[in-house]
Subunit: 162 residues, 2 copies
DNA sequence: GGTGAAAGGTCATTAAG
DNA sequence: CTTAATGACCTTTCACC
Protein backbone atom coordinates (compact mmCIF):
# COMPACT_ATOMS: atom_id res chain seq x y z
CA UNK A 1 0.00 0.00 0.00
CA UNK A 2 2.52 2.57 -1.07
CA UNK A 3 4.29 3.93 -4.13
CA UNK A 4 7.63 3.20 -5.71
CA UNK A 5 10.13 5.46 -7.33
CA UNK A 6 8.55 5.33 -10.78
CA UNK A 7 5.19 6.33 -9.35
CA UNK A 8 6.84 9.24 -7.60
CA UNK A 9 8.56 10.37 -10.79
CA UNK A 10 5.29 10.08 -12.67
CA UNK A 11 3.42 12.20 -10.13
CA UNK A 12 6.21 14.75 -10.10
CA UNK A 13 6.23 14.94 -13.87
CA UNK A 14 2.47 15.34 -14.08
CA UNK A 15 2.54 18.02 -11.42
CA UNK A 16 5.15 20.05 -13.25
CA UNK A 17 3.60 19.61 -16.69
CA UNK A 18 0.00 18.60 -16.17
CA UNK A 19 -1.12 18.80 -19.76
CA UNK A 20 1.25 16.06 -20.80
CA UNK A 21 -0.07 13.06 -22.70
CA UNK A 22 0.64 9.48 -21.78
CA UNK A 23 3.03 9.14 -24.69
CA UNK A 24 5.11 12.13 -23.67
CA UNK A 25 5.21 10.83 -20.10
CA UNK A 26 6.49 7.46 -21.24
CA UNK A 27 9.23 9.13 -23.28
CA UNK A 28 10.37 11.32 -20.40
CA UNK A 29 10.29 8.48 -17.91
CA UNK A 30 11.95 6.07 -20.26
CA UNK A 31 9.31 3.36 -19.98
CA UNK A 32 6.67 1.91 -22.26
CA UNK A 33 3.48 3.88 -22.71
CA UNK A 34 1.37 1.02 -21.42
CA UNK A 35 3.33 1.05 -18.20
CA UNK A 36 2.57 4.70 -17.64
CA UNK A 37 -1.10 4.15 -18.33
CA UNK A 38 -1.24 1.19 -15.94
CA UNK A 39 0.63 3.03 -13.20
CA UNK A 40 -1.64 6.03 -13.48
CA UNK A 41 -4.77 3.91 -13.35
CA UNK A 42 -3.51 2.09 -10.28
CA UNK A 43 -2.61 5.34 -8.55
CA UNK A 44 -6.08 6.63 -9.22
CA UNK A 45 -8.05 3.64 -8.02
CA UNK A 46 -5.79 3.19 -5.01
CA UNK A 47 -6.82 6.72 -4.07
CA UNK A 48 -3.33 8.17 -4.20
CA UNK A 49 -4.41 10.50 -6.97
CA UNK A 50 -7.86 11.82 -6.20
CA UNK A 51 -8.32 14.06 -9.20
CA UNK A 52 -6.86 16.38 -11.77
CA UNK A 53 -9.00 19.37 -11.01
CA UNK A 54 -7.81 22.83 -11.99
CA UNK A 55 -6.19 24.60 -9.06
CA UNK A 56 -8.02 27.85 -8.50
CA UNK A 57 -6.42 30.75 -6.68
CA UNK A 58 -8.92 32.52 -4.40
CA UNK A 59 -6.62 35.55 -4.38
CA UNK A 60 -6.97 35.89 -8.16
CA UNK A 61 -10.74 35.96 -7.66
CA UNK A 62 -10.39 38.91 -5.32
CA UNK A 63 -10.27 36.98 -2.06
CA UNK A 64 -7.02 38.36 -0.76
CA UNK A 65 -7.59 37.63 2.92
CA UNK A 66 -7.09 34.17 4.37
CA UNK A 67 -7.90 33.37 7.96
CA UNK A 68 -8.03 30.39 10.24
CA UNK A 69 -11.11 30.52 12.40
CA UNK A 70 -11.39 28.16 15.33
CA UNK A 71 -14.84 27.49 16.72
CA UNK A 72 -16.26 26.36 19.98
CA UNK A 73 -19.56 24.64 19.40
CA UNK A 74 -22.38 23.26 21.46
CA UNK A 75 -21.54 19.58 21.58
CA UNK A 76 -24.79 17.75 21.20
CA UNK A 77 -25.12 14.93 18.72
CA UNK A 78 -21.67 15.03 17.18
CA UNK A 79 -19.98 17.89 15.33
CA UNK A 80 -21.40 16.97 11.98
CA UNK A 81 -24.51 19.17 11.91
CA UNK A 82 -22.46 22.32 12.49
CA UNK A 83 -19.86 21.32 9.91
CA UNK A 84 -22.65 20.63 7.47
CA UNK A 85 -24.03 24.13 7.92
CA UNK A 86 -20.58 25.65 7.62
CA UNK A 87 -20.18 23.84 4.31
CA UNK A 88 -22.95 26.00 2.91
CA UNK A 89 -20.79 29.10 3.27
CA UNK A 90 -18.73 29.56 0.09
CA UNK A 91 -15.96 31.44 1.89
CA UNK A 92 -15.36 28.46 4.17
CA UNK A 93 -12.83 26.44 2.20
CA UNK A 94 -12.07 23.74 4.71
CA UNK A 95 -13.30 22.44 8.08
CA UNK A 96 -11.49 20.18 10.53
CA UNK A 97 -12.48 18.82 13.89
CA UNK A 98 -9.55 19.29 16.20
CA UNK A 99 -8.00 18.59 19.56
CA UNK A 100 -7.31 21.34 22.06
CA UNK A 101 -9.43 24.16 23.40
CA UNK A 102 -11.56 24.55 20.29
CA UNK A 103 -13.73 22.07 18.44
CA UNK A 104 -13.50 23.08 14.79
CA UNK A 105 -10.89 24.78 12.67
CA UNK A 106 -11.97 26.49 9.46
CA UNK A 107 -9.95 27.94 6.66
CA UNK A 108 -11.77 31.00 5.48
CA UNK A 109 -11.19 33.57 2.75
CA UNK A 110 -12.58 37.06 2.30
CA UNK A 111 -12.17 39.99 -0.06
CA UNK A 112 -10.91 42.40 2.57
CA UNK A 113 -10.50 42.59 6.31
CA UNK A 114 -13.90 44.13 6.74
CA UNK A 115 -15.34 41.49 4.43
CA UNK A 116 -13.77 38.95 6.77
CA UNK A 117 -15.82 40.50 9.54
CA UNK A 118 -18.93 39.82 7.48
CA UNK A 119 -17.93 36.20 6.90
CA UNK A 120 -17.20 35.69 10.58
CA UNK A 121 -20.61 37.14 11.40
CA UNK A 122 -22.16 34.57 9.10
CA UNK A 123 -20.22 31.83 10.86
CA UNK A 124 -21.23 33.06 14.30
CA UNK A 125 -24.83 32.98 13.16
CA UNK A 126 -24.56 29.29 12.37
CA UNK A 127 -26.65 27.29 14.81
CA UNK A 128 -24.52 25.57 17.41
CA UNK A 129 -21.56 27.93 17.16
CA UNK A 130 -20.78 29.44 20.55
CA UNK A 131 -17.53 31.32 20.02
CA UNK A 132 -14.98 32.03 17.31
CA UNK A 133 -11.33 32.97 17.35
CA UNK A 134 -9.73 34.25 14.18
CA UNK A 135 -6.15 34.25 13.08
CA UNK A 136 -5.24 36.03 9.87
CA UNK A 137 -2.66 34.56 7.54
CA UNK A 138 -0.50 37.53 6.64
CA UNK A 139 1.64 35.66 4.15
CA UNK A 140 2.19 32.13 2.91
CA UNK A 141 5.90 31.52 2.52
CA UNK A 142 5.23 27.83 1.79
CA UNK A 143 2.05 27.27 -0.23
CA UNK A 144 0.38 23.88 -0.03
CA UNK A 145 2.39 21.17 -1.72
CA UNK A 146 2.82 17.40 -1.47
CA UNK A 147 5.62 16.82 -3.93
CA UNK A 148 8.41 16.60 -1.35
CA UNK A 149 6.33 14.01 0.48
CA UNK A 150 5.74 12.04 -2.70
CA UNK A 151 9.43 12.10 -3.52
CA UNK A 152 10.25 10.99 0.01
CA UNK A 153 8.04 7.92 0.24
CA UNK A 154 10.04 5.64 -2.11
CA UNK A 155 13.27 6.59 -0.33
CA UNK A 156 11.85 5.59 3.02
CA UNK A 157 10.64 2.33 1.55
CA UNK A 158 14.08 1.75 0.13
CA UNK A 159 15.60 2.03 3.56
CA UNK A 160 13.08 -0.17 5.25
CA UNK A 161 11.65 -2.59 2.67
CA UNK A 162 8.29 -3.93 3.76
CA UNK B 1 -10.36 41.50 -12.82
CA UNK B 2 -12.88 38.78 -12.15
CA UNK B 3 -14.68 35.95 -13.82
CA UNK B 4 -18.06 35.72 -15.47
CA UNK B 5 -20.63 33.00 -15.44
CA UNK B 6 -19.16 31.10 -18.39
CA UNK B 7 -15.77 31.01 -16.70
CA UNK B 8 -17.38 29.65 -13.55
CA UNK B 9 -19.21 26.97 -15.49
CA UNK B 10 -16.00 26.01 -17.25
CA UNK B 11 -14.06 25.70 -14.00
CA UNK B 12 -16.88 23.71 -12.44
CA UNK B 13 -17.04 21.39 -15.42
CA UNK B 14 -13.30 20.84 -15.45
CA UNK B 15 -13.28 20.18 -11.73
CA UNK B 16 -16.00 17.59 -11.93
CA UNK B 17 -14.61 15.88 -15.05
CA UNK B 18 -10.97 16.88 -15.28
CA UNK B 19 -10.01 14.60 -18.13
CA UNK B 20 -12.42 16.30 -20.50
CA UNK B 21 -11.12 17.57 -23.81
CA UNK B 22 -11.66 21.06 -25.10
CA UNK B 23 -14.11 19.80 -27.67
CA UNK B 24 -16.25 18.03 -25.10
CA UNK B 25 -16.19 21.13 -22.92
CA UNK B 26 -17.38 23.27 -25.77
CA UNK B 27 -20.22 20.86 -26.45
CA UNK B 28 -21.33 20.76 -22.83
CA UNK B 29 -21.12 24.50 -22.40
CA UNK B 30 -22.80 25.21 -25.71
CA UNK B 31 -20.06 27.44 -27.07
CA UNK B 32 -17.41 27.18 -29.74
CA UNK B 33 -14.24 25.27 -29.11
CA UNK B 34 -12.07 28.32 -29.69
CA UNK B 35 -14.00 30.16 -27.02
CA UNK B 36 -13.30 27.49 -24.44
CA UNK B 37 -9.63 27.52 -25.32
CA UNK B 38 -9.45 31.30 -25.17
CA UNK B 39 -11.24 31.36 -21.82
CA UNK B 40 -8.96 28.71 -20.39
CA UNK B 41 -5.86 30.51 -21.56
CA UNK B 42 -7.08 33.77 -20.09
CA UNK B 43 -7.92 32.11 -16.78
CA UNK B 44 -4.46 30.60 -16.65
CA UNK B 45 -2.47 33.72 -17.43
CA UNK B 46 -4.65 35.84 -15.18
CA UNK B 47 -3.60 33.47 -12.43
CA UNK B 48 -7.09 32.25 -11.63
CA UNK B 49 -6.11 28.73 -12.59
CA UNK B 50 -2.63 28.02 -11.31
CA UNK B 51 -2.29 24.48 -12.54
CA UNK B 52 -3.84 21.14 -13.30
CA UNK B 53 -1.63 19.07 -11.09
CA UNK B 54 -2.81 15.68 -9.89
CA UNK B 55 -4.30 15.93 -6.41
CA UNK B 56 -2.40 13.57 -4.18
CA UNK B 57 -3.89 12.24 -0.97
CA UNK B 58 -1.30 12.09 1.82
CA UNK B 59 -3.55 9.62 3.64
CA UNK B 60 -3.30 7.19 0.73
CA UNK B 61 0.48 7.40 1.05
CA UNK B 62 0.25 6.33 4.66
CA UNK B 63 0.22 9.78 6.23
CA UNK B 64 -2.95 9.40 8.23
CA UNK B 65 -2.26 12.10 10.79
CA UNK B 66 -2.75 15.78 10.02
CA UNK B 67 -1.80 18.48 12.49
CA UNK B 68 -1.60 22.23 12.65
CA UNK B 69 1.57 23.32 14.38
CA UNK B 70 1.95 26.93 15.43
CA UNK B 71 5.42 28.24 16.05
CA UNK B 72 6.98 31.01 18.01
CA UNK B 73 10.23 32.04 16.43
CA UNK B 74 13.10 34.32 17.19
CA UNK B 75 12.21 37.41 15.24
CA UNK B 76 15.40 38.63 13.74
CA UNK B 77 15.55 39.59 10.10
CA UNK B 78 12.05 38.62 9.01
CA UNK B 79 10.36 35.24 9.21
CA UNK B 80 11.65 34.09 5.87
CA UNK B 81 14.78 32.21 6.94
CA UNK B 82 12.80 29.98 9.30
CA UNK B 83 10.08 29.34 6.73
CA UNK B 84 12.76 28.50 4.22
CA UNK B 85 14.18 25.86 6.53
CA UNK B 86 10.75 24.48 7.29
CA UNK B 87 10.18 24.09 3.56
CA UNK B 88 12.93 21.48 3.54
CA UNK B 89 10.83 19.16 5.70
CA UNK B 90 8.64 17.01 3.42
CA UNK B 91 5.99 16.51 6.09
CA UNK B 92 5.43 20.26 6.29
CA UNK B 93 2.81 20.82 3.63
CA UNK B 94 2.11 24.49 4.16
CA UNK B 95 3.46 27.45 6.13
CA UNK B 96 1.73 30.74 6.93
CA UNK B 97 2.84 33.78 8.86
CA UNK B 98 0.02 34.73 11.16
CA UNK B 99 -1.39 37.23 13.58
CA UNK B 100 -1.95 36.40 17.23
CA UNK B 101 0.25 34.85 19.86
CA UNK B 102 2.27 32.73 17.44
CA UNK B 103 4.31 33.67 14.42
CA UNK B 104 3.94 30.77 12.00
CA UNK B 105 1.29 28.18 11.34
CA UNK B 106 2.25 24.94 9.62
CA UNK B 107 0.13 22.18 8.23
CA UNK B 108 1.93 18.97 8.95
CA UNK B 109 1.28 15.32 8.19
CA UNK B 110 2.71 12.18 9.76
CA UNK B 111 2.23 8.43 9.53
CA UNK B 112 1.12 7.96 13.11
CA UNK B 113 0.87 9.94 16.30
CA UNK B 114 4.32 8.88 17.38
CA UNK B 115 5.60 9.73 13.93
CA UNK B 116 4.10 13.15 14.47
CA UNK B 117 6.29 13.44 17.54
CA UNK B 118 9.29 12.78 15.33
CA UNK B 119 8.22 15.45 12.83
CA UNK B 120 7.65 17.96 15.60
CA UNK B 121 11.10 17.19 16.94
CA UNK B 122 12.51 17.97 13.53
CA UNK B 123 10.61 21.25 13.49
CA UNK B 124 11.79 22.20 16.97
CA UNK B 125 15.33 21.58 15.83
CA UNK B 126 14.98 24.16 13.09
CA UNK B 127 17.15 27.14 13.85
CA UNK B 128 15.10 30.07 15.10
CA UNK B 129 12.16 28.04 16.37
CA UNK B 130 11.54 28.74 20.04
CA UNK B 131 8.31 26.94 20.82
CA UNK B 132 5.66 24.84 19.10
CA UNK B 133 2.03 24.13 19.81
CA UNK B 134 0.32 21.28 18.01
CA UNK B 135 -3.31 20.70 17.25
CA UNK B 136 -4.33 17.42 15.67
CA UNK B 137 -7.03 17.33 13.02
CA UNK B 138 -9.19 14.41 14.07
CA UNK B 139 -11.47 14.56 11.07
CA UNK B 140 -12.10 16.74 8.03
CA UNK B 141 -15.84 17.08 7.51
CA UNK B 142 -15.26 19.69 4.79
CA UNK B 143 -12.18 18.94 2.67
CA UNK B 144 -10.53 21.82 0.84
CA UNK B 145 -12.64 23.11 -2.01
CA UNK B 146 -13.10 26.34 -3.94
CA UNK B 147 -16.01 25.49 -6.19
CA UNK B 148 -18.70 27.19 -4.10
CA UNK B 149 -16.57 30.31 -4.16
CA UNK B 150 -16.12 30.12 -7.92
CA UNK B 151 -19.83 29.67 -8.43
CA UNK B 152 -20.52 32.62 -6.16
CA UNK B 153 -18.29 35.22 -7.81
CA UNK B 154 -20.36 35.78 -10.98
CA UNK B 155 -23.53 36.05 -8.90
CA UNK B 156 -22.01 38.79 -6.79
CA UNK B 157 -20.89 40.60 -9.90
CA UNK B 158 -24.34 40.27 -11.31
CA UNK B 159 -25.84 41.98 -8.33
CA UNK B 160 -23.35 44.79 -8.22
CA UNK B 161 -22.07 45.35 -11.75
CA UNK B 162 -18.70 47.13 -11.70
C1' DG C 1 1.48 -0.85 -34.96
C1' DG C 2 -2.39 1.36 -37.47
C1' DT C 3 -6.52 4.42 -37.27
C1' DG C 4 -9.96 7.53 -35.91
C1' DA C 5 -10.18 11.51 -32.98
C1' DA C 6 -8.90 15.18 -30.75
C1' DA C 7 -5.55 19.30 -29.56
C1' DG C 8 -3.73 23.50 -31.02
C1' DG C 9 -3.07 27.00 -34.20
C1' DT C 10 -4.65 30.44 -37.84
C1' DC C 11 -8.05 32.93 -40.35
C1' DA C 12 -12.21 35.71 -41.92
C1' DT C 13 -16.59 36.88 -40.48
C1' DT C 14 -19.88 38.58 -37.28
C1' DA C 15 -21.53 40.54 -32.99
C1' DA C 16 -21.35 43.47 -29.06
C1' DG C 17 -19.11 46.67 -25.66
C1' DC D 1 -12.94 50.91 -32.46
C1' DT D 2 -11.77 47.35 -29.54
C1' DT D 3 -12.72 42.96 -27.81
C1' DA D 4 -14.73 38.58 -28.12
C1' DA D 5 -17.17 34.66 -30.26
C1' DT D 6 -17.80 31.73 -34.16
C1' DG D 7 -17.08 28.20 -37.69
C1' DA D 8 -13.79 26.55 -41.04
C1' DC D 9 -9.53 24.68 -42.17
C1' DC D 10 -5.05 22.49 -41.26
C1' DT D 11 -1.20 19.76 -39.07
C1' DT D 12 0.57 17.22 -35.37
C1' DT D 13 -0.19 14.32 -31.74
C1' DC D 14 -2.31 11.14 -28.96
C1' DA D 15 -5.73 7.42 -27.24
C1' DC D 16 -7.60 3.25 -28.16
C1' DC D 17 -8.14 -1.17 -30.31
Amino acid sequence: MTIDELDARLITLLTEEPRLGMLECSRRLGVARGTVQARLDRLIDRGVITGFGPDVSPAALGYHVTAFVSLEIRQVAGHDPVAHRLARIPEVLEVHTITGGSDLLCRVVARTNSDLQRVIDVIVDVQGVLRTNSIIALDTPVPYRVLPLVADVPRQEGRRPS
